[in-house]
């Protein structure tokens, strides 16, 4: 008798199944449900604990509340330039155009953003943004966003499945037919029949050692999409956020919001020098202040001054910190100083950055109103992921949609801070609408019992394997490998070493063994998550080897310059017959008017 009939399989059927309950998943579910689709929302954690909750600085949207000069064109230009022009231009355009409406919609659903004197939504400065653009609530914007969406969604007739991990997408003749996974609490399997699936599963930070990401960030959605036949693009493009805690060791990698610099903080090396002035690239020279006087004046007067280099895009700042530390100008714990204490009053810091104040006080015994923070880069985000259509968020597999970090294209080679939360809302909504429309016209596919049976056997294998490989130890080795060999600065020999190491480690993954039973067993959960992490890590390392140039989040020591030819190409990853196949394909080019907008030099200060 087969496994499934022995166990008695729990099954639910829906029009639309949304996987992941962060900002994108919640927004997609709300939209799909509003369109009349019978909708399920499935999440690995409890509702409201998704990674969105950790977002700090704000939501980028050209509301023009603080600087009336701001509009979608400026936001679009900033996003494209921040992404080193590798963005899907149409996604960047839709995002810039629709973000303001999505933010106002949150307010209509009960969000309480910080206010301007006129009673409007206040906006703050952030890296790479021409104007103060981030709607925010102190430094806990993600919490505000997820609570607002969560509290709105629970009254909309959406079925929520919490602590339920999906492992496979099921297809029928190449189209989506459902998804298969397990309840974390009981370890029992669960099958969802679905006409359409929206992936909103986030990224894969847990494949690196120093990361701001939580345990959930294991690349499940990216791996499931690839296995189901979807294209991935730009998998070499990962973002190291320049500022995270570096000490004590146990908190290394925990995020320090860009809002610290947005609100006046500056980076200094051990000699007390504001070193970012030494790292202004040609590409941003015309937009960037070249003296401390101009940089400091810019906070108050953007018409007559250019942006401080402390707020260059994240890839530039992370590389600069990396270089300073390597050159011996770092702090005792291997970071640089981030100083807001000497630049802003204590009350202002506590009001604007309450959770940073709390975090350093509680975890490092540092009072940020009197003492500079020690910070260094942390793996924060992956720009690459599932290739999607800009208008509908549809992947290359019929019935499969992707929104948020799991999707690629929007941010090109580097994401600007604040553009993630707006991305979740804009494309979450689009994905939910498109999935519901597709489901309305689709015939339900047939779930193939063989696919389910095979997935179930693979998932239970760690209980029967006798290889004795410990999942925690294997995970630590994966993290070391990605951290050391596929980090901020990459080289051909190290990438080849990484690929060989990943092959060896994934061979050992076949022999991973878990103790105990299926009930809430973190060792087993990790063993299953490792499959996704390895798949995504391999795609990342191989894409990084293929792209022989430096651009955004991908820096090659052996190819230090951007190559105009590579600037017109995406690296595409597919799975064929169980093996990864990579290729370079043309990047869609924007219409001439938008191209000119992106390439134009900013007006010089008078």
């Amino acid at each position: 008798m087969d496994l499934m009939s022995r166990e008695g399989l729990e099954r639910h059927d829906y029009d639309v199944v949304v996987v992941g309950a962060g900002g994108a998943g919640l927004r997609a579910a709300i939209e799909a449900s509003a369109a009349g689709a019978h909708t399920a929302l499935i999440c690995k954690s409890l509702l409201g604990k998704a990674h969105t909750v950790m977002a700090e600085g704000g939501i980028a949207a050209a509301l023009g509340n603080v600087w009336a000069e701001d509009n979608w064109r400026v936001h679009f230009r900033d996003t494209m330039r921040g992404g080193k022009l590798l963005n899907n231009w149409r996604m960047a355009q839709l995002h810039a155009q629709e973000a303001p409406d999505r933010v106002l919609e949150l307010e209509e659903w009960g969000a309480l953003f910080d206010r301007t004197k006129d009673g409007l939504i206040l906006q703050r400065d952030f890296g790479g943004h021409r104007y103060a653009r981030l709607a925010h609530v102190g430094d806990r914007t993600g919490l505000e966003m997820i609570r607002t969406l969560q509290q709105h969604a629970v009254h909309k007739g959406i079925d929520v499945y919490m602590e339920c991990t999906l492992q496979r997408l099921l297809t029928d003749g190449g189209k989506i037919a459902g998804a298969f996974g397990y309840w974390r609490e009981s370890g029992k399997f669960v099958l969802f029949g679905a006409r359409a699936v929206v992936l909103a599963t986030g990224g894969v930070g847990k494949a690196w050692k120093v990361t701001s990401n939580s345990w959930e960030y294991t690349g499940d959605g990216i791996a499931m999409a690839l296995d189901a036949g979807a294209d991935l693009i730009d998998m070499e493009m990962v973002q190291f956020h320049p500022t995270a805690m570096v000490w004590p060791l146990s908190v290394r990698g925990i995020l320090v919001t860009e809002g610290v610099r947005g609100d006046g903080g500056t980076l200094k090396n051990s000699q007390g020098k504001r070193f970012m002035f030494d790292y202004i690239p040609e590409f941003f020279r015309a937009d960037t202040a070249d003296s401390e006087r101009e940089a400091d004046a810019w906070y108050e007067d953007k018409r007559n001054n250019r942006r401080t280099p402390d707020l260059l895009p994240r890839d530039e700042v992370a590389r600069a910190i990396n270089t300073e530390v390597k050159a011996g100008r770092g702090t005792p714990h291997g970071g640089v100083y981030l100083d807001i204490a000497s630049r802003r009053p204590a009350d202002y810091i506590k009001k604007r950055l309450p959770s940073m104040y709390h975090q350093f006080k509680e975890l490092a015994d540092v009072d940020i109103t009197t003492t500079p923070m020690e910070v260094g880069p942390t793996l924060h985000y992956i720009m690459g992921g599932v290739r999607v259509d800009a208008e509908t968020a549809a992947s290359t597999v019929p019935g499969l949609y992707a929104a948020g970090e799991v999707a690629a294209g929007m941010h090109g080679a580097n994401r600007l801070g604040g553009n993630s939360l707006s991305d979740l809302l804009v494309f979450g909504r689009r994905a939910g609408a498109a999935a519901a429309a597709y489901a309305g016209g689709a015939v339900a596919g047939t779930v193939d019992d063989a696919q389910v049976e095979q997935a179930a056997r693979t998932m239970l294998a760690p209980f029967e394997a006798e290889g004795g490989e410990n999942p925690y130890a294997l995970h630590a080795e994966l993290q070391e490998c990605m951290q050391d060999l596929v980090g901020i600065i990459r080289r051909e020999d190290e990438l080849k070493q990484a690929i060989a190491k990943l092959d060896e480690l994934s061979g050992r993954l076949e022999r991973v063994t878990v103790e105990g039973n299926r009930q809430f067993n973190p060792g087993w959960h990790l063993a299953l998550d490792l499959h996704s992490m390895f798949t995504v890590a391999k795609a990342c390392a191989r894409s990084a080897l293929m792209r022989t140039e430096s651009r955004g989040g991908h820096t090659r020591e052996d190819y230090p310059k951007a190559d105009p030819e590579w600037g017109k190409k995406n690296v595409v990853t597919r799975k064929h017959g169980g093996t990864l196949e990579l290729g370079a394909e043309p990047l869609p080019q924007p219409p001439e008017e938008l191209r000119q907008l992106v390439l134009s030099e900013e007006k010089q200060p008078a």
Binding site: L104, L112, Q151, G157
Partner: protein
């Protein structure tokens, strides 16, 4: 800091709803560790199936609530150097909620209570983008919206901690904070006072402030949320002058209708 011990000894509750016991583990420890780091090290080295919830490890998601030496706290925000060197530390699951396994409890009570609260409802004539609110008017609700739903206040509240039978008619401090956030939202038009008085059971609270003491977000739950709500209830339902006025004017205090909860739909 540098003279922190190199080993940590922790007594962790292991078991399921059918029973369990404390197991003691000793693992290597490093400078700056928090209780959750030690739990992770126990998983990696000694007990791979030790069940624990966590996400952000930075005090922002409220997943890793537990009782540490009997005190309700987040494991990720409890530094090991707050204990005496070499002290054996006890970690047990939250007591108010049913055990699932080890440190993981069934907190679905909270999600059920959340669904009973009608959502924010602005004046329909005010369109998105037309909202105007002053910072001073949103400060109070913003304090309540800092809540990370760790449920430590629920766990500590003696109304339900020691009285399972009260859970049916009592929402708990977390949801008084949520109700206060809505009641004090400058643009909300819904009326939830009847819900607060009856179904949420505000009257059970006798303001011992245990919830305020354990709040990792330092929300002044009792002073800023519960007491003002109690005052509103008193004014609305029990003010003798208002009662006389209503008798004379023929008004009724009934406020139900808009405040009725929508039916639950989530599977948790």
């Amino acid at each position: 800091m540098s003279d922190e011990p190199r080993e940590a000894t922790m007594s962790v509750w292991r078991g399921t709803k059918s029973g369990g016991r404390f197991e003691t583990y000793t693992v290597p420890s490093d400078e700056g560790m928090v209780v959750l780091d030690v739990i992770h090290r126990i998983q990696a080295l000694r007990a791979p199936d030790l069940a624990v919830r966590w996400n952000c490890k930075a005090g922002k998601c409220g997943s890793c609530s537990a009782e540490i030496n009997g005190h309700a706290a987040l494991m990720c925000m409890t530094r090991m150097n707050t204990f005496a060197p070499g002290e054996e530390i006890t970690v047990s699951p939250m007591k108010t909620f049913p055990i699932i396994k080890d440190l993981v409890t069934d907190v679905s009570f909270n999600y059920a209570k959340a669904r009973e609260i009608p959502s924010f409802t602005p004046d329909p004539s005010v369109k998105p983008g037309e909202f105007r609110m002053q910072q001073v008017d949103v400060n109070r609700s913003q304090e309540f919206r800092k809540c990370i739903e760790c449920f430590l206040c629920q766990n500590t509240c003696h109304v339900i901690r020691d009285h399972e039978e009260n859970k049916k008619a009592f929402s708990g401090p977390r949801f008084f904070v949520r109700l206060a956030a809505l009641e004090m939202h400058p643009l909300d038009t819904n009326d939830r006072l009847e819900l607060i008085r009856q179904k949420a059971g505000l009257g059970f609270c006798n303001i011992t402030k245990c919830c305020t003491e354990v709040c990792p977000e330092d929300i002044h739950i009792t002073d800023n949320a519960i007491i003002p709500l109690k005052e509103r209830i008193v004014t609305e339902f029990y003010d003798p002058l208002a009662w006389v006025k209503r008798r004379i004017m023929g008004e009724t205090p009934t406020r139900v209708g808009k405040g009725e909860p929508e039916p639950p739909s989530a599977k948790v």
